[in-house]
Amino acid sequence: MGRAKLPRKSTSIDMTAMCDVAFLLLSFFILTTKFKPAEAIAVTTPNSVAAKVAPDKDFVMIILDKDGKVFLSMDDESKKEYIANTLNNTKNLGINVNAFKKANFYGASFGTLAAFVNLPEDQRKGANLPGIPVKDTANNELVTWMRIINEAYQGVKAPNLLVKGDNLAKYPSFKAVVDAFKKNDFLKFQMITNPEAAPLGTDLWKMNQSGEKREE
C-alpha cells in the first residue's frame, strides 16, 4: 500500500525568533513609556496615608523646593491674564501678558517678574531661580499673589489650593505660605503627598478594615 511515510519531525522550535520579538517589544516599551515630563522644579514629596487623589485641574499650586524657595503655579489661563493685568496696573511692572500666560510657574520677586516671564522656557529651572520672596514677614510677596488670585476667582468656585513641598524644605517657608493663605482667608488647602498604607494595628487601619468611611 502506497502510504506516504511522514518524515520524523522534531517538536522543539527554534526560539530565537520569539526571543527577538520579546526583546524588541521590551525595548519598544522601555523607549516609549512616557514618564512624567521632567519638572522644572525638583520636588520629592513626603508620604502620607491620605487616600484622596490630588486634583489635577483648576488648581493653584504653591511649590516649596528643598531650599525652601517658593514657586507658584496655576492652570487657568484667563485667571493668569487677569493677574498679569492687575500686576501691571497696580505695580506698573510692564509684564508681557502673553509670556506670563505661557509660563508654567512663577518664581521671582515682583521687581524681576517681567524679566522672569521673558526668560526662555529651558532656562527657567527651579535650581537657579530666586523664588517668590516670603521669608520677610513684613514683605511676604505671596500675600499679594494670593490676594490677586482671590480677586481673580471672585464670584466663581474657589480653586483647589495645593501645596507641594519637598521633604527637606524647612518649616519657616511653609509657615510663610500658610500665613499668606490665612491672611487672604484661604483656610482650606491640600498637601500633595505620595500614598502610603496605614500602619497595621493603628486606629485608621482598623477603620479601613471595618470598611468605615473616613472623613477627608
Binding site: T11, F23, N47
Partner: protein, 181 residues
C-alpha cells in the same frame, strides 16, 4: 512536569494494518514563555511605579482677634508635640512647667504609642493635640506628624506657632539628644 502518556496503551499489540502512532514528545520549551513573562514584569514595573499623588487636606483655623475667642482646652487633655531638628520629636502633657520636667524627648517611631496611650487615657472630648514645629524642622516632619493624626484618628489638633521658651528648649535638647531617623 505534566506529561502525556504516549507509550501506546500498556504495550499490547495492535492488529495488522494499524499503524502505530509516532512517538511525539509533548514537552514544550518554556524559555520563550519565561522571556515573555519577564517582559511583562518589566513593563508593569516600569508603568506602575508612577503612583498617583494623593492630597492631604488641612483646614486652618481663623486667627482669633481676642484671646477670649480662642478655643479653650482642658489642661489634662492637651498634649503638645514639638518638632525639632534632625527628626527629633518632643512632647509634654498639659502645660510646660517651669523646670521643664515634663518635657520629654521622643522620635517619630515612638510618638505613635505616646499618642495611642494619650488617646486611650483621655476622654475624647478633652483630647487636643497641639503641634508646634520649630524653625529647624522640615516640611516632611510637619506632614509626618499630621499624618500621625490621621493614622491615630485624632480629630482635634492644631498647628500652632512655637513660643520662644519652647524653641530654646527644643534647640538645647536637640543638641544633646542623639540624632534619630
Amino acid at each position: 512536569m505534566a506529561e502525556m502518556d504516549t507509550s501506546g496503551g500498556g504495550g499490547h499489540k495492535k492488529g495488522p494494518g494499524v499503524k502505530k502512532g509516532k512517538k511525539l514528545s509533548t514537552r514544550v520549551d518554556l524559555t520563550p514563555m519565561v522571556d515573555l513573562g519577564f517582559l511583562l514584569i518589566t513593563f508593569f514595573i516600569f508603568t506602575t511605579t508612577m503612583a498617583q499623588p494623593t492630597a492631604m487636606k488641612l483646614f486652618l483655623p481663623k486667627d482669633a482677634e481676642n484671646p477670649e475667642d480662642q478655643n479653650k482646652a482642658k489642661e489634662s487633655g492637651v498634649i503638645t508635640i514639638l518638632l525639632g531638628k534632625d527628626n527629633n520629636v518632643f512632647y509634654y502633657e498639659g502645660q510646660l512647667d517651669n523646670t521643664a520636667s515634663n518635657f520629654k524627648s521622643s522620635n517619630f517611631k515612638e510618638i505613635r504609642s505616646v499618642l495611642i496611650n494619650k488617646k486611650a487615657n483621655t476622654p475624647e472630648k478633652d483630647l487636643v493635640v497641639v503641634l508646634k514645629p520649630s524653625s529647624e524642622c522640615t516640611y516632611r516632619n510637619v506632614v509626618d506628624i499630621l499624618d500621625e493624626m490621621a493614622i491615630n484618628v485624632l480629630k482635634r489638633y492644631a498647628l500652632v506657632d512655637i513660643s520662644e521658651v519652647e524653641e530654646k528648649l527644643v534647640k538645647l535638647s536637640g543638641a544633646s539628644a542623639p540624632a534619630a531617623n
